[in-house]
Symmetry: C2
Subunit: 281 residues, 2 copies
């Protein structure tokens, strides 16, 4: 737990003490004055599944093992019941290798799977739709007061976002409490790091809420569904296909959560309107 | 030219008349009231180079030919002087095929090149660094009054961003005038569409300014350098490596342009402080 964070139930908080994540640059401002500023780092991390190189992710660099495991699981390159025999990270070469007990035929599938482009993509279209059609997320209840508590606490929490900006956050929550808060230059990496933690610790996803600062695109919905989390919440907007996939998987999808306002695009039967709404907020 | 846009010198403006880019969804808000809202579309587009499938991009769907050409050129999958013999787009299957006169050995390089993950990535780390080390962008002059004019005009212009949100924009500019304004769910797609237009029309990039709503990550800097544009400007933040690559290529990199404020992280010798600064703005 990061001591600078005031939430007492946090398991992992923003990595404010890791000085490797931030560096200092000099710029000239609108007055022509020299300014020194802290900026977020961005560095390549090569992810291997056994002997096969899968991807080079651009990441701030923390939690490389969670990122690798979460990425491979969310991409369905590692099956649900497949045994992980080890994860090794070499800091110098920035290579992380995830090892499974049996080498599978996934390596052959990879050529199809790793085709992707651009932001809001990052994942793979290939087999993505096949797997998501099988997912039906379980029922759960969400009090809307929890959403307001989460929005307030997460927005006010010390984070790399508040310190240096240009970064996205993803927070795994239970009821009105943030549990694991990951940040990264790529919002997909932040989600994958949370996924890596979730899978590693065998935490039950069914009573959780996933909060992200990024937009609710198809890919974010697919990742959340693959993680088994029935509720996905964002302060940002959403795409038409994101909404469609949320409906398909019985996910509660909530966008534009700001203060005590939000819009629920899918799965509103989970919502419990338990609180008076102060729309001045 | 889009008639809803008031800029008289625009060549391509936001696609506000294309009703395929937006659809209507229903949501329940914080009061429990049903709301109908317009949201941005997001759909797959498969990009082929000759007979080789390269990538499936998630895109709003406009300008597929520019997107495909810009992506392949920016990824260095098509060489600078290589002749394009045709670009075909099939609307039904959402496939775009870019054909070169000679089939090259690029198809073999692709396995290495298409590995990527997540937002702020989308491109390929592989050969990216090799090519960028050869780029030295030419000198040019930028009046800071142009930046303020551009920020104001672009922010106020009718766009899908203002209409439905959850979208990024990239604008090719000359002096204080926006010329080509592309939008997409992925900020990389928006840049690639501008690149496709630039390459197709053989427009001189050396006196241009590229404006983006997205963050200035390494990938955005590499794309801009590959396009030959010496000035990259954003309303958002930047990463340490983005700044480093801008310095390496002699690029002027300007972040956090809001009103009459900005910070120039690289290449400030191009700046002409020609105007009084009203920091109230």
């Amino acid at each position: 737990m990061n001591e600078k964070n005031n939430s007492q139930n946090m398991i992992i908080g923003p990595n404010l003490d890791d000085k490797n994540l931030v560096s200092s640059v000099t710029g000239k401002d609108h007055h022509g004055q020299i300014n020194k500023l802290d900026v977020i780092e961005e560095r390549p991390l090569s992810i291997y599944l056994n002997s096969q190189e899968i991807v080079t992710a651009m990441t701030i660099g923390d939690h490389p093992k969670y990122l690798a495991l979460g990425f491979l699981k969310n991409q369905k390159l590692i099956k649900e019941n497949e045994k992980i025999s080890g994860i090794d990270y070499d800091e110098e070469t920035r290579v992380v290798v995830v090892r499974t007990e049996k080498e599978s035929n996934y390596e052959q599938k990879i050529k199809k799977k790793i085709r992707t482009s651009g932001c809001a993509v990052g994942t793979v279209f290939g087999d993505m739709m096949e797997s998501i059609e099988e997912i039906v997320l379980p029922e759960s209840k969400i009090k809307i007061s929890w959403l307001y508590d989460l929005a307030k606490e997460i927005n006010q929490m010390n984070s790399l976002y508040l310190e240096v900006g240009a970064i996205h956050g993803t927070v795994l929550c239970c009821k009105n409490k943030p549990l694991v808060y990951m940040e990264d230059v790529g919002r997909h990496n932040a989600v994958d790091k949370v996924a890596g933690w979730l899978f590693s610790t065998k935490t039950n996803p069914n009573d959780k809420i996933l909060y992200t600062t990024g937009r609710l695109t198809s890919e974010m919905v697919v990742k959340c569904a693959n993680m088994g989390i029935p509720v996905l919440v964002s302060r940002s907007g959403f795409t038409a296909w994101g909404v469609e996939l949320a409906k398909l998987t019985n996910m509660t999808l909530i966008g534009r959560l700001r203060g005590n306002r939000f819009i629920c695009l899918s799965g509103d039967t989970r919502l419990d309107y338990d609180t008076e709404i102060n729309t001045k907020n």
